[in-house]
Symmetry: C2
Subunit: 379 residues, 2 copies
């Protein structure tokens, strides 16, 4: 079982460690500043949110060197410039220079914010992430996407800035709230769908083992293997196509075109990212079925795993007022993400095929709006 990975994303080296336990602060300090003395004031700012504050204090607390900890409000609503500016100002106060270190301790939002701040602080400082959620471990902490929401659009502003060092301590997962757990499981299922039947079988096994609870060592070993496979797959894709200019990285958006629209139509933060992605994957299966790309038994298998994991896959989604609002969100999202595009509708969907998934652009399905309306409404 592989638990240590050395990736290079574009020019950025990124070392990923899967662990049972949390890293110690001394271990982190030593990794970044091998020559640092014990009593020195260190140019380090740790960032967490209200959910991970006690975890962060546990990691930082046993060190007698002062490391400043900034605690942000938890939740998608914190993914704003205000939070980034708070981090930057705290870094100034903590005396960080160009070689200063930002440590993000938390889930996807904390990682995105800390990463964005680190990437622009003096045009780029050092970055370590301690990922404490399943979503972070299987997706958000890897591959360098940072960002904030703006104008009601998810990740409208951000950078590509992989962390030099990423810890994935499994101990963090066993105290995770159910909603957080579900948010991550969707990305795990997504990765398995993209990777291989073998990985998807492993996820099925995980779901099966979960019925007995998450405490058994069999379950935990299976989870560890899922995370390891997930890291390996995502790392491979991002190494091949770091800035999503090629054909590989777009596949990671399986479920996201529909999912983003759902998140935005419901109001950012109302539906968790993972739940939205899960619902979006079910829509992608339906679209694939209609287009003859997703084999029926494959679509059933994916939707069954989603349902067994407790996801809402029905249409129309109960938390969205009207299918029109969803269509509008998707079209607005399309317009914003792909631009006017010289008359060609550039909206892209990732659709499962027999082996993995493939990209379908809206121009390929220009029975168009009517078809999408059906997929979204279930009519």
């Amino acid at each position: 079982l592989k638990t240590e990975f050395d990736f290079t994303f574009a020019d950025y080296p990124s070392h990923v460690l899967i662990r049972d336990e949390f890293p110690s602060v001394n271990e982190i300090i030593h990794a970044f500043y091998p020559a640092a003395g014990l009593a020195e004031e260190l140019p380090i700012l740790a960032v967490c949110d209200t959910n991970t504050e006690s975890l962060a204090r546990k990691i930082l607390g046993d060190d007698n060197r002062k490391i400043r900890l900034l605690v942000l409000e938890s939740g998608e609503k914190s993914k704003s410039w205000e939070s980034v500016e708070t981090i930057l100002r705290a870094a100034v106060e903590a005396g960080l220079g160009r070689d200063g270190l930002f440590i993000g301790i938390g889930g996807g939002v904390t990682g995105d914010l800390t990463g964005f701040a680190a990437s622009i602080y003096m045009r780029g400082s050092r970055l370590c992430l301690v990922s404490t959620t399943l979503l972070g471990m299987v997706d958000a902490s890897l591959g360098g996407k940072t960002g904030i929401d703006l104008s009601g659009l998810k990740n409208l502003a951000g950078t590509f800035y992989p962390a030099e060092l990423v810890y994935l301590p499994l101990a963090a997962l066993y105290t995770l709230p159910e909603r957080e757990w579900k948010s991550g499981m969707a990305e795990l299922i997504k990765t398995a769908v993209l990777d291989s039947g073998e990985f998807l079988d492993l996820v099925k096994k995980l779901t099966f083992l979960e019925e007995e609870g998450r405490n058994s060592s069999v379950y935990r070993e299976c989870l560890k293997e899922c995370i390891s496979r997930s890291v390996a797959y995502k790392g491979r894709v991002v190494e091949a196509d770091p800035k999503e200019t090629g054909t590989m990285r777009p596949l990671l958006n399986l479920g996201h075109t529909f999912g983003h629209a759902l998140e935005e139509a419901a109001g950012l933060g109302v539906i968790s990212h993972g739940e939205a992605v899960a619902w979006g994957m079910a829509r992608a299966c339906k679209l694939g079925l209609t287009l003859g790309i997703t084999p029926p038994e494959r679509a059933s298998e994916i939707i069954e795993i989603l349902v067994n994991s407790g996801y809402e896959t029905r249409t129309p989604h109960p938390l969205v007022k009207s299918v029109d609002s969803l269509m509008n969100a998707m079209m607005a999202d399309k317009k914003q993400r792909s631009g006017h595009g010289f008359g060609v509708a550039k909206l892209r969907f990732i659709v499962p095929d027999a082996e993995s998934a493939r990209v379908v652009s809206a121009s390929d399905i220009l029975s168009g709006d009517t078809l999408l309306y059906k997929i979204l409404s279930g009519e």
Copy 2:
């Protein structure tokens, strides 16, 4: 005389064109979207400031395709996140997608803001700069540094994001206010000092010709050659050391350690960047003299050019209340830029030597504060 340059800064190609006249909007559109039809709505946002609005309208106005123009307040005070957010929101309204284009028309501040916005919009969009000031042409528009001021610190946040295409239209210079002119001349002199005696002689010739006004064709040819040499030098340095991690790019900070301190002690925006850099170069010469690095005749030559170009080189600087405030700004700046640095003072000065300049770190001059106080106060 070389007027066209193809640089590669880190991974980013950057094409630089020195011109007598302004580019037409059709030329820009064609460079970025060769397939665009004439009547199409284009995913382009142009940004200028109140100083360059009429120029920008002149460039954009003759096109019947709608290109949205955003006008920012001119001046260093606009170098804030608020401006960047205004640009990002305007880009959303203008329908820019990932392949959308930002055109910055103006000087250093406009370029820094437009570049920063373009670099983070959807994690990186397209960027064209039309530089309209001498400072922009010889320095700011080249080499990819973008940024905003925060917490009273210049460029505290920013990115490395070279423009794909940079126009340097000399026509813009002949309507430049005197203050703007002086701001750019300082960077031109700086580059000549770093580059060669030949280039410095050319700058002396330019200063000499300027006494007859800036309208003669001899003067304008000389200026063009100065800009061409400046672009060639800076491009060479940034290609060798794009992210200032090596030994080359730090040289471009000649005059800046003292200059930034002066800007911050006087209050951001009170003294122009170039005037501060000129004053800082005079200080660097004094420091170099004291340390025996700058030959006396070299120091005299540089200071004479600065004085002849109308710069304040005296100590203490008349716009700074006390030398202490300057020392404090420099030390704060030092702390912020280089961090705690494990006990070693990492403040660096660039000091002219016989041929070019070299880096002197504060630890090399740790008679230290007393010496710096003398350099700043002139006592």
